[in-house]
């Protein structure tokens, strides 16, 4: 079964995801209160034979973290460009904070903020002034802007560097400054284009932590990424884009569950003398929802294992098979020493939808 890479979850971590489930349809019923509404949006650049964005629709609820996942050139950045008033839609309609971005871009700009992929900080002025001038553009009074800048610089670990000009900054630091700057006018919706592309792992985790804090404070986040781990970690819902079209939309869990026979359950148990495991495999494959069972050989022991590892490919939800499998082993008098749930990744979903890898 060519399912690409697998991401293993422990038993406890599968429970965490249950809290963040929002069904795809939930946003549609609250259209008027939605943070972002995208309706049949199309962008065709002059002289281009194809649409860069080809009639996409989705709704983002207030406080939701929405990820647009897709390879480079899928149309994610153009979509965000239209939502942030920098790209004029060819047809269709989009609102941010209830304001039509094409009809009233000036008001829409007050409700949104953008963190671009590459630094666009003002190099002629210090970090602190980057924040306070941004606030001034948005009409935040001077004293309030100063207080907010101090608070944000502290929060983003930049307190000591406030008076430095941005050209001295690394990519990760510039990214932090740009997020802090975006928050200066307290936008309703924050757009982040590839927020951690090109950052080192520590900087990446720092940015992820800050984005989680924003989510907890109720800021609506829309991020584009070609990193499936980023999408799975941060986003409440993910839209998968390719060739300007929205191929699929749902919670990361729902998208991954949508792959047929792609969840797995790995069991580790003690081997009996002379038992190659065949009777056990036969009994396990008789359990409900099990599509296929295979024995995993550890190359280090050369086949003389004292333990057996068995992988079950499951049509439904793998966690629900843990209890029946454990009971079966107990009946056979074999001790269960390890359980591992395997979920398909968003990358597998992408491959399933397009037949290609993300990068």
């Amino acid at each position: 079964m060519p399912l690409g890479r697998w991401h293993a979850y422990g038993l406890t971590s599968s429970a965490v995801s249950a809290g963040s489930v929002t069904e795809a349809g939930a946003g549609a019923s609250t259209m008027s209160a939605a943070a972002v509404v995208v309706d049949a949006l199309v962008k065709r650049y002059p002289k281009s034979p194809v649409n860069a964005v080809d009639g996409i629709s989705f709704t983002v609820a207030p406080g939701e973290v929405f990820g647009l996942l897709g390879p480079n050139g899928a149309g994610k950045t153009t979509t965000v460009g239209m939502l942030t008033t920098r790209v004029r839609p060819t047809s269709g309609r989009a609102t941010v904070g209830g304001i039509d971005v094409a009809a009233d871009p000036v008001h829409a700009r007050g409700r949104l903020a953008v963190v671009p992929q590459r630094s666009n900080l003002d190099r002629s002025i210090s970090i602190r002034r980057n924040l306070t001038f941004h606030a001034a553009y948005h009409g935040v009074p001077g004293a309030e802007a100063k207080a907010r800048a101090d608070e944000l610089l502290e929060q983003f670990g930049l307190r000591e560097r406030g008076d430095v000009k941005p050209d001295m900054f690394s990519g990760g630091q510039a990214q932090r400054v740009m997020i802090a700057r975006a928050l200066m006018h307290q936008p309703q919706v924050l757009f982040l284009d590839e927020p951690t592309t090109g950052l080192d792992p520590a900087a990446r985790l720092f940015v992820w932590d800050r984005l989680r804090e924003l989510r907890d404070r109720g800021v609506t986040l829309i991020l584009t990424t070609h990193d499936m781990q980023e999408a799975a970690t941060l986003a409440d819902r993910v839209g998968i884009m390719d060739h300007g079209k929205l191929l699929s939309l749902g919670t990361p869990e729902a998208l991954m569950r949508s792959l047929p026979g792609s969840s797995t359950l790995e069991l580790t148990t003690d081997a009996r003398d002379g038992d190659a495991g065949e009777p056990l495999l036969a009994e396990l494959s008789a359990l409900p929802d099990v599509e296929r069972v295979e024995l995993i050989h550890d190359p280090a022991t050369g086949g003389q294992e004292s333990t057996l590892r068995v992988r079950l490919y499951v049509a439904g939800e793998a966690p629900q098979l843990v209890a029946p499998a454990a009971a079966l082993l107990a009946r056979r008098g074999q001790a269960l020493s390890g359980v591992e749930l395997g979920e398909p990744t968003l990358e597998d979903v992408f491959i399933h939808l397009t037949g290609r890898t993300l990068r």
Binding site: T84, V106, R109, V114, R123, F133, A136, Y137
Partner: protein, 267 residues
């Protein structure tokens, strides 16, 4: 286009955003004041020194040439400063640093971001030209001055600064960073020497082809109206002709520049 949708409170917030963007430019200029002064003063200062002082002292120029040159240098300073102030940063901001994006995302019409640039560059150009007056007194000992010519001088200063800014907006939005050097040398040097700042236009009758070339440079009309204001006894083009040509040129260059600005700002 987008300004049309603005309500009354929208206009207030747009004007606030406009003033904040202007404040940013003033702040940056203020914090780089020596650079600004060197940039605007050095070139006309040396032209004044060599053509007005050195060559005159050596007897290579006629008596009175310095007074003919001075109004031309005021025109040159206004036009060139306006163009440089706007064009160079704009090319870099659009093509390389993308700094302008934060201002394009401010709650104001895109055209107002361009208007702020024009206003700021024009004011900077006028200040630069005004600084030339004490510099002229210092280098030449005295400069031609007629109080009755001041209204025309001010008008010529405003039009010259606007002309330079409009030219800068057009160039700044049309040129990519990769070609900035070649384009500026192709534009800058001819502009500098065909704008009648170093000679009066009517005196070119002995070089008819050059008379035509200079007539095509809008800076000529700034120089000529400056001379009409300060040294009216030197033959010059009628001021009303200059004003009409300048308003037409400014309008055409602004239209080209704004089109370019919208094209760069919004896809």
């Amino acid at each position: 286009m987008s300004a049309a949708a603005a309500s009354a409170p929208g206009r207030a917030s747009q004007s606030r955003a406009f003033r904040a963007v202007l404040a940013r430019d003033v702040f940056v200029t203020w914090s780089e004041l020596p650079v600004f002064l060197a940039q605007v003063i050095l070139q006309p200062l040396f032209l004044l020194l060599v053509f007005g002082k050195v060559l005159a002292s050596l007897g290579y120029t006629q008596h009175g040439y310095a007074h003919l040159l001075f109004p031309g240098l005021l025109a040159l300073t206004a036009v060139i400063t306006g163009m440089q102030t706007l064009a160079f940063p704009l090319v870099i901001e659009f093509g390389w640093t993308k700094e302008i994006e934060d201002r394009l995302l401010a709650p104001m019409a895109t055209g107002l971001v361009a208007a702020e640039k024009i206003l700021f560059a024009s004011v900077r150009a006028m200040i630069a030209a005004a600084i030339m007056i004490p510099v002229g007194v210092l280098v030449l000992g005295s400069v031609p001055w007629r109080w009755s010519g001041v209204p025309l001088l001010v008008l010529a200063l405003i039009l010259g600064s606007l002309l330079g800014s409009a030219l800068g907006l057009a160039l700044g939005t049309l040129v990519t960073p990769a070609r900035i050097n070649i384009v500026f040398s192709l534009v800058f040097t001819p502009l500098l020497f065909t704008g009648c700042s170093q000679y009066p236009w009517p005196s070119l009758s002995r070089l008819p082809w050059f008379k035509v070339v200079t007539a095509c440079n809008p800076m000529t009309y700034v120089s000529e109206s400056m001379r009409a204001a300060l040294v009216p006894n030197v033959p010059h083009i009628a001021p009303w002709v200059c004003v009409v040509v300048l308003i037409g040129s400014i309008g055409a260059l602004m239209a080209i520049g704004l089109r370019g600005f919208y094209r760069r700002a919004i896809d």
